[in-house]
Subunit: 335 residues, 2 copies
């Protein structure tokens, strides 16, 4: 294993992105996201994702120097056209207007269009909770997941993320796929030759299967049966047609076999507790703390707690990569 300080990890990410021709704003935005994931022990979305980022560039599926365009769509809607660049820079371009609109109107939406999306949503959610806002985000993916009662892929893994700010400690944040498992979980089982649990997917003939290769060729299933399927449909709708962007089926068709990360849109909704509650805000946020305590006092976990523990560890000890991963990343640097 190779151990890197957070600073070394950041430099590695910068070197990879810069030498491959990403513009400096993209270098900074993408590196910050993969570093946040690596630091939080979210290694499937960490430094190693840079392999996929460079692959997307070489496949012609991402624009390395895209300049996001901000559109003031409505008093409580800001749109950012990512112009084919990675979502991170588009999000960064839209945040100031989203914050201003949420604080003014009480609730506001940020619609990111025409972006290439490869990362976890919680990174963006945390940026909004740090500003004192409650936030919800979702995005389609590629069509890999069948609806409840069906066996043909229609939905993406369609994650939903939510955040709630907490005074003096990390926010309450969750971020999960509406599929029963993440795509990377299937791929990991396939690499290690392990069967997948029942309920994750069906084969190309629509039969339940525990063979990861068969399910990757067939269809994944949603979590929680018809309820998860309904939520996956909601994500398709509100982060697809509602914002004038691609559904997961359309994103996969656009990919045309290049196996790049999805190209589509993302919807973020921000709510300002101070606008909802006025001077009673702190009193009501304290009641949320009572709710959290009633969960933790019985030994149940709040979401993201493991991530926050990993974060504390990384701040002290840096992050670890396997020698093979490190070598593969180093090899991405164009001399």
């Amino acid at each position: 294993m190779i151990r890197l300080t957070l600073e070394q990890a950041r430099e590695l990410a910068h070197d990879i992105l810069r030498s491959n021709g990403f513009s400096e704003p993209h270098v900074q935005a993408v590196a910050a996201t993969v570093l946040a994931c690596e630091r939080d022990g979210y290694s499937t979305h960490g430094l190693y994702r840079l392999v996929a980022c460079v692959h997307a560039l070489k496949a012609g599926k991402v624009v390395a120097d895209a300049v996001p365009e901000m559109i003031d769509q409505a008093p409580a809607i800001v749109r950012v056209d990512a112009r084919g660049g990675f979502s991170q820079l588009a999000f960064r371009a839209g945040v100031p207007a989203l914050l201003a609109k949420a604080r003014q109107a009480g609730i506001a939406a940020l619609a990111i269009n025409h972006c290439v999306h490869f990362s976890a949503l919680w990174v963006e959610i945390e940026e909004l909770t740090e500003a004192g806002l409650v936030a919800l985000a979702c995005t389609p993916a590629h069509a890999w997941v069948a609806p409840a009662g069906g066996s043909q892929p229609v939905f993406g893994t369609n994650p939903i993320a939510f955040g709630w700010p907490r005074a003096g400690q990390p926010p309450f944040v969750f971020d999960f796929a509406t599929s029963a498992a993440a795509r990377v979980d299937l791929e990991r089982h396939q690499r290690s030759g392990q069967p997948i649990p029942e309920g994750w997917g069906v084969d190309a003939q629509g039969r339940p299967s525990t063979d990861p290769a068969a399910v990757l060729q067939g269809a994944m299933l949603t979590f929680g049966g018809y309820k998860g399927s309904a939520l996956a449909a909601m994500v398709e709708l509100i982060a697809g047609p509602l914002i004038g962007d691609l559904t997961s089926a359309e994103s996969l068709a656009f990919d045309a076999g290049s196996q790049a990360t999805p190209y589509h849109g993302e919807l973020i909704i921000a709510l300002d507790p101070r606008r909802f509650l006025g001077s009673a805000c702190d009193q009501h946020l304290a009641r949320a703390e009572t709710l959290f305590a009633s969960i933790q006092d019985q030994g149940a976990r709040l979401p993201s707690q493991r991530r926050y523990q990993a974060r504390a560890g990384s701040a002290e000890r840096g992050v670890q990569l396997s020698q093979a991963q490190y070598d593969e990343l180093r090899a991405l640097i164009v001399a």
Copy 2:
């Protein structure tokens, strides 16, 4: 069985509510909701819910002549203080401002406070989709549901409902509890002496149980494991502290054993596709129809389709009640 035309069913609801002293606006609003549920074959929330409505009144848990107060909270937030009345009239009072704000700002929130809630959320969602809006609603309940990894009740059944308008046909609507089953499903199993499926709940000692009585004394579980639990927590937060209203635990404490329906708040978020999409709106709504077709063409159902079939049947043949239910309802009418 007793068969009633929709008009007769409405008259029965009116007679019950009016003779028990509900003010005329509450009579109309509550009757419209229970009738919509009865008509759609959603009989657990149909006419028979009037037994619970009258019980809540007799227990002193609902104000029969409450006049909702509308508060223009922020450019994109309207609050309605139900003042202890049923939620239906408060919703009705808030809808015009919600529509106006959503159409002006693009996205808007309606926070209903201090209401007694007993019904399905899809009734309200459909009113917003009829106005061409996309809508999301949620509300806590009484603390009956344990978080993932715990065994003590913290959450309510915390429903989430969503609606998407469709030109020329009923909307795409879902409305489900974030608990594995609805409270009424447990009660039905208890009455008929049937065991409940595994995964619905735990007994008072936290052990998984298929005995409905034991689970009613213990805790229900969320659907979909930790993901459903995260969603249940989100509902507690955004339809509780965020809007300055009670969590499910606080609602149950307020109930103080009277077994009335929950008293708390509800959050509704409305999004206007025309503000998101401008002149491209119809083109993108048509792409949503492609998504629906790709679900239905493989034999999977869209949510609410059974409800719409029942609606068509009721329009022709009216609704049916058992003689016992009919007699119990008739007996509620105060001479």
